[in-house]
């Protein structure tokens, strides 16, 4: 039988989307728990989400201080062990800083904070974030960030383009162009995953698109993918 589906939603000082993510997890049938960043044992959990916000005020560099939080050693251990780990927005930035995902996120091309829905095209289903989706699906999901501009040195990027890119900014028809790039991200990259597909990060906020009353339900497929990845079957 299936037990578990316990999700640790990590709370750093300055995180602010942790309750929203927990709400979404609950809505989708998982069992979320807010976990303070000083915690060092996550062995009871089936998955980990690093939510959005401004961990440590985003000071120094976004994610730079958070990656040294005590909990991150444990997150790294779980990531290596194949446990689903998802970083949303600031959480994605932290995963990059921690080296769990390649590249980095820098200030948006126009140096303005961007809060608006964007379109994302699903590029790969080999990740805990996209396994329930279909390549080519176009999702409308809110973006909400100042440092969402994905950069990586050329060799890293080349490597990533071998299946590591899971979501790209596109227009409503799914065409990927500069005009559809809200923040200057290289190759319109909005979300990526590691080689094993168990660690994924994206800048837009799927938890903000899970109910009709809030304007879109397109984020569900991504979070449902994640929840489905949590299943842990025991004897």
């Amino acid at each position: 039988m299936t037990i578990g589906r316990r999700v640790a939603v990590i709370v750093f000082p300055g995180s602010n989307c942790e309750r929203d993510v927990a709400y979404a997890m609950q809505l989708l049938g998982a069992d979320p728990e807010l976990v303070w960043h000083r915690e060092t044992d996550l062995s009871e959990f089936d998955g980990v989400i690093l939510p959005g916000g401004f961990a440590h005020g985003d000071y120094l560099r976004t994610g730079a201080i958070a990656r040294f939080s005590p909990v991150m050693t444990e997150v790294e251990r779980l990531a290596d062990a194949g446990t689903p780990v998802l970083g949303i927005c600031n959480g994605f930035q932290i995963l990059c800083e921690a080296g769990l995902l390649p590249g980095a996120l820098v200030a948006n091309r126009d140096l303005k904070f961007i809060c608006r829905p964007v379109h994302l095209r699903v590029e790969s289903t080999d990740s805990v974030l996209t396994r329930a989706a279909t390549v080519g699906d176009v999702l409308r999901i809110p973006l909400n960030s100042f440092e969402g501009n994905y950069v990586a040195p050329a060799p890293v990027l080349d490597d990533l383009e071998n299946g590591g890119v899971v979501l790209r900014y596109s227009d409503a028809d799914g065409s990927v162009s500069d005009a559809a790039n809200p923040n200057g991200s290289l190759n319109n990259i909005a979300g990526i995953a590691n080689g094993g597909g168990n660690v994924a990060g994206l800048m837009p906020h799927p938890e903000r698109a899970i109910e009709t009353v809030l304007g879109s339900t397109d984020g569900r497929i991504l979070l449902e993918s994640f929840v489905a990845s949590l299943d842990r079957v025991t004897a």
């Binding site: 005020g57 985003d58 608006r116």
Partner: protein
């Protein structure tokens, strides 16, 4: 050689005020005491020129839990839920340093909310600038919006709207108002009273530095002139990260029932917080400044008492709970320092280095502040203004006129602003910025809160009483179109120099107009703020009251009207009385004719509330689009529906004036063909049909939808680059 002015004059006190201090103390004040009185008795802290008039506002209703006077007003939403609302100005600091001025404005207003025990859930930003063809005004707008975005987004409270106007009158004195909303459960309500001899005062949050020494009195209580540059060191740097930790720490303190009273540190810092806490509780306090965590160690007593360092709170705690409170502070990684003890009697005693540096009756700092009934006189120039109405042509190409109006930055798309603000955090946002009022759900209930901020300085300049009433009605309609009924008001009264009789007259008239409208609507005023001395080099701003209207929907409509739900073939209806003569203060007369003159139409307290009721009823009746008509007239209102819905419209009118006139009590409803509106109480007439690729006014001209939308979308971006 000039002799230096006496200390109290340098601190902005009059001789008479100084004498009053001597009377209270029975001796000359010590330096730190003088500093405390000067700030606490400043206009900003004491409301000495306005207090006598603010009592006019209606403040009572069965659902008011906390009215004006506390940090925020609180209303009862039923089922144990309360909402807290508060508005503040940060005008002068934002002119000196727009980014930090606006940022710290957000920080301050949030503290007012969580001081009440509430979690802040949304912010609004009514702002005013000089025209955008001037580079400095663009710099100010850019800085203010970035500052609000920086602080609000990082502290994790969504900004759900605001409003903006432009006029030369604001070039040297921009307005930055901020409003915040919080929600809480009944049992979490906390007040700012210290009580219980022996209780302990704990300072929480940031260290105390030399920030904004005398900022409140100097920046907010005096006019600006050439020498304002010298006041610059009083800029404060906001730290949203510290505030975020402080919010979480305080909310946890309340949850665990660990505070007896709490007060935020705003203007006048520690002296204000300690004296108010003590005075509100009818007690005294002994405070030791050696225990205050300092950012710079050589600060003197006056500097520490007066410092306006941000992100600090003063909690009053029972002795047994001190350890738990300090542990909690440590968990959230903020300072927690015991700085004082509550005493019997009413004396506030402050010590530093083992010596008493101040010893004053706590209540005297707030309650004995001077009260002025400054002379008020109606400006004669108003007669000339009223005798100079807009000169209207017999006919007009409304299409072409509309295009010119849409290019105006106060009419054009405001998304350049609100897309810089997180407006979705907490998953409550049902109607996001870009409509009339914004609407938030309260999760776990069927209740919704709608909020709108509204002001119109030009209209209030032309007739402060009518203008004041009209902005209240406009705000009421803005929340009503989301299905919420007007429930409570906060106001921010931004005015010029109160020592001028015509400014006092504007002030009193405005309050009269706003009060009458609130009474007619049955809406209590639960809080507000006064910002005087918005004057630079002798030029006063337009009198600019800003209304923050809280609407309450219980339940929310099953299907909430939105501007983007119009479809080809739907009928466009205009609900409310026609007023084709109302052109004073319209967008048309401002943008096209550059004319300020005539007299705005008065409100109608009989029909006004009925129109609001109809809007609420229609929102619940499933009408897909409701939109209030403001000073842009029906033409602009229809155009906004077209842009948001991506669909043209044809609107017919015998008289072009009905398309561009204002008129206080009107809104549009867009409904499927044959939908029975059942409007009986107020006038309603069908004016057009959605569809086509034009905004088409029949014989009054038309304009291609795509062109109009482009102009509207670019009005702000093309100027801001």
């Amino acid at each position: 050689m000039t002799t230096e002015a006496p200390a109290h004059i340098q601190l902005g006190m009059t001789d008479a005020e100084y004498d009053a201090v001597v009377d209270i103390l029975g001796r000359e004040p010590r330096p730190a005491e003088l500093a405390m009185y000067s700030v606490m008795w400043s206009e900003h802290c004491s409301y000495k020129s306005s207090r006598a008039w603010l009592g006019r506002f209606p403040t009572e209703a069965p659902w008011v839990v906390v009215g004006p006077g506390e940090n925020a007003g609180v209303v009862d939403l039923g089922d144990g839920w309360l909402a807290a609302l508060r508005i503040e100005s940060h005008n002068h600091p934002s002119f000196v340093e727009p980014f930090q001025g606006a940022a710290t404005g957000v920080g301050g207003i949030l503290r007012d909310i969580f001081t009440m025990g509430a979690r802040p859930i949304a912010v609004w930003d009514p702002i005013r600038f000089g025209p955008l063809d001037d580079a400095h005004n663009r710099y100010l707008l850019d800085g203010v919006v970035s500052g609000i975005a920086h602080y609000g987004n990082a502290v994790g409270v969504p900004t759900l709207g605001g409003e903006i106007e432009f006029s030369e009158r604001y070039s040297a004195n921009p307005l930055v108002n901020v409003m915040a909303l919080g929600i809480l459960k009944q049992e979490q309500l906390v007040l700012s009273a210290a009580s219980g001899e022996g209780n302990v005062a704990i300072l929480l949050g940031a260290s105390t530095g030399r920030d904004g020494i005398g900022g409140a009195s100097i920046l907010a209580s005096a006019s600006f002139d050439e020498s304002s540059g010298a006041k610059r060191p009083s800029v404060q740097i906001g730290d949203p990260f510290e505030e975020k930790k402080l919010i979480e720490a305080c909310l946890e303190l309340y949850e665990r029932g660990l505070v007896v009273g709490i007060q935020d540190l705003g203007a006048a810092g520690i002296s204000c917080a300690t004296s108010e806490c003590a005075a509100n509780g009818g007690v005294g306090m002994v405070v030791d400044l050696d225990d205050v965590p300092l950012r710079e160690d050589d600060m003197n007593a006056g500097e520490i008492l007066m410092s306006e360092s941000q992100e600090r709170m003063l909690a009053i705690v029972e002795p047994d709970d001190v350890d738990e409170v300090l542990e909690l502070a440590e968990k959230w990684e903020i300072n927690g320092a015991v700085i004082g003890t509550v005493t019997a009697g009413g004396t506030l005693e402050v010590r530093q280095h083992g010596e008493v540096v101040a010893e004053v009756p706590a209540a005297s700092l707030s309650e004995d502040a001077p009260l002025y009934r400054r002379p008020a006189e109606r400006p004669e120039a108003l007669d000339r203004l009223w005798a100079d109405p807009v000169d209207l042509p017999a006919g007009l190409d409304v299409g072409e006129t509309l295009l010119r109006m849409l290019d105006d930055p106060a009419v054009g798309d405001r998304s350049w602003i609100y897309q810089q603000y997180d407006h979705q955090l907490f998953l409550n946002t049902v109607i996001e910025p870009g409509h009339d009022g914004s609407l938030l759900r309260i999760k776990g209930t069927t209740k919704g809160l709608a909020v709108s901020t509204d002001g119109n300085g030009r209209l209030c300049f032309m007739d402060p009483r009518r203008g004041g009433a009209r902005i209240v009605y406009e705000s009421a309609l803005n929340v009503a179109v989301t299905g919420a009924r007007p429930f409570a008001v906060v106001d921010n009264l931004n005015f010029g120099n109160p020592e001028k009789p015509e400014i006092m007259w504007q002030f009193i008239e405005t309050i009269e107009g706003m009060s009458a409208a609130c009474e007619a609507l049955g809406v209590p005023v639960i809080g507000g703020n006064v910002s005087f001395y918005n004057e630079t080099d002798g030029v006063d701003i337009f009198p600019t009251p800003v209304v923050g209207m809280l609407g309450f929907a219980d339940p929310m409509p099953g299907h909430v009207p939105r501007l983007d739900q119009a479809e080809p073939g739907m009928e466009v209806w205009l609900i409310g009385p026609e007023d084709p003569t109302d052109f004073a203060g319209t967008t048309y007369s401002r943008v096209v004719l550059d004319h300020v003159g005539g007299r705005p139409s008065d409100v109608d307290h009989t029909i006004g509330p009925k129109v609001v009721d109809e809007a609420v009823r229609l929102a619940h009746a499933g009408v897909p689009v409701l939109h209030d008509i403001s000073v842009g007239g029906a033409a602009v209102a229809v155009a906004e529906i077209c842009f948001r819905s991506g669909c043209g419209a044809r609107v017919d009118s015998d008289d072009w004036r009905t398309l561009l006139s204002a008129g206080p009590h009107r809104f549009l409803a867009v409904v499927p063909p044959g939908f029975d509106l059942e409007v009986t109480d107020v006038p309603a007439r069908r004016i057009g049909t959605m569809g086509g690729n034009h905004i088409d006014f029949g014989r009054h001209g038309r304009v291609p939808l795509s062109l109009a939308a482009d102009v509207w979308r670019n009005a702000i971006p093309r100027r801001m680059g």
